[in-house]
Symmetry: C2
Subunit: 317 residues, 2 copies
């Protein structure tokens, strides 16, 4: 019990990495370690960065890390790629990228794909962020490839949500997706030296202006970057820190932290409850009958689920 | 009770649309309707189509629908866009697209975004596919924008999973993502008249050849299309039908249907159980204490979830 927590809290990278692996494997010992770690969390500044494939997110993250390092902040990076079957830093791209930070002890990178993590990638990122937070990293940067559900779940995870766009994507309608606008605290138009960059910036600015807002609400900045040439990165990190200050001043950082914990507590309740139910009905006659009925379509899934749960008592103490 | 089911089974479009809306709103009456519908389902051929933004999926779907119509098949289309807050056919893109099928009663299109559907988009698509299936559509085509979790969940939903690629995406590493390769039954390289198309095809062919397979297993075809010029669509729909026949011949269609029902039955068990638990603890002293403790970080989410569930009895009958 608690093999790695004590050392990870002191910043030991090997213990941190092993604990993350333990959590990936769904080892209950990992959860015990997390409980030990937990009181040492709540200090890291969590940034979530999302955007479509090909937007240059990896290079951006590299440069953002370098900028934070030059400001003497340590950084944990969680790179989530749901389309990759690899995890735990074994992803192919991982060896290619982040090379400039390979020997820097102030930078800790973990990649995760679809393998492992029974609780899903969102849960995996949450747990890894807790470990990095407890290890003492000042900033934890979560990068997700893709558009879709990921963007929404990154909001549950981060204090500041960053949306990356690039010139020439889609047909205008695509760029103006209200869903993306709603979640972003900072917008990046990367590859800003390419044709059409100014148009994307203008579109974003117009849509952000139309968003519901009052004097007190945060107006997300739109920052142009050319990550491969390290252009715009200082302004970008300034924008992150500006948003963080806004959250602190309004007492919102506390609120975001709390809703983050509440969200994952709810997820855990669902998961633990389902496991208890599964254990309770495993091998039972009821389950056998329901599965057979589903198989020959003589029962619908709704009635099947209700029947299964009718056999269970929920009595609050 | 069962306001719309009877009429929807007879193919009434208005009733089908209203039932789908009811389900989106989480109205329990919708579930009762689904139970009535269910015995009339199991006939539609379900195709899931996924790929990155900008791959031309909307145009592809348009042309696929036209091709199925020319083969005298009726088609239901479910367009999922998790980044859009709109749903129920109100999405902006919906008015722009599918114009050629607007007056065709053999085509029924529903769009869904993040709004509504408490059970998530995967559940929403499942329920909508049940309604379309019962309405008698021969083919139900589910289109998801995005790469990520969606691709994985579309596999739970469809009999045939189609992955769309396009030339010039990413850097080669991206094209070879094993996760994408594993899920595809048919691969499309759209915009095949653009430079680099042949390279993408070759990459896919090589990777598919390296995939675990034996003589009996399905070898996914890679089909080149230029959707805007209706090129390759006949071959594509032939490939769909070929895969369907393969599933039928091997008794696999039955299996895929069953695992689809089982998957959603499990999801429903989780959801109903969580609702029961929430109802049971609502307003209780235990819940108030745990929420307060989470707020001031004096308890971790894991311990909180365990404590909450310790107050509940799970006794299988």
């Amino acid at each position: 019990m608690s093999q790695y927590a004590e050392k990870a809290i002191k910043g030991d990278i090997l213990s941190g990495a092993r604990l993350i692996r333990l959590l990936e494997d769904g080892d209950p010992a990992g959860i015990e370690d997390l409980k030990v770690l937990y009181p040492h969390t709540g200090n890291a500044y969590l940034i979530g960065l999302t955007g479509p494939p090909g937007a240059g997110k990896s290079t951006l993250v590299d440069q953002i890390v370098a900028e934070f390092r030059s400001r003497e902040k340590t950084v944990g990076v969680i790179a989530i790629d749901p389309s990759s079957p690899f995890s735990g830093g074994a992803i192919l791209g991982d060896r290619v990228r982040m090379r400039q930070h390979a020997t820097d002890k102030g930078v800790f990178v973990r990649s995760m794909g679809t393998r492992g993590h029974l609780g899903g990638l969102s849960r995996a990122a949450y747990e890894t962020s807790l470990v990095m937070d407890a290890m003492g990293y000042d900033v934890v940067l979560v990068e997700t490839v893709g558009v879709g559900q990921d963007e929404v779940s990154i909001v549950d995870l981060a204090h500041t949500t960053v949306v990356v766009s690039l010139p020439g994507m889609g047909d205008g309608i695509q760029a103006m997706k209200a869903g993306i606008l709603e979640i972003g605290d900072v917008f990046i138009v990367n590859k800003a030296d390419k044709p059409g960059a100014e148009e994307v910036v203008q579109n974003l600015e117009i849509m952000l202006e139309m968003r519901d807002h009052d004097e007190k609400s945060w107006r997300p900045p739109v920052i142009k970057t050319v990550a491969v040439e390290n252009q715009g990165i200082t302004e970008l990190v300034d924008a992150f820190m500006g948003h963080r200050q806004y959250l602190v001043d309004g007492g919102l950082l506390e609120k975001r932290r709390y809703s983050r914990e509440l969200h994952f507590a709810q997820e855990l309740v669902k998961e633990i409850a389902y496991r208890k139910i599964s254990d309770a009905v495993a091998g039972s006659e009821t389950l056998r009958e329901l599965v057979a009925a589903l198989k020959n379509r003589s029962i619908d899934p709704y009635t099947a689920a209700e029947k299964l749960l009718r056999g269970l008592n929920f009595d609050p103490l």
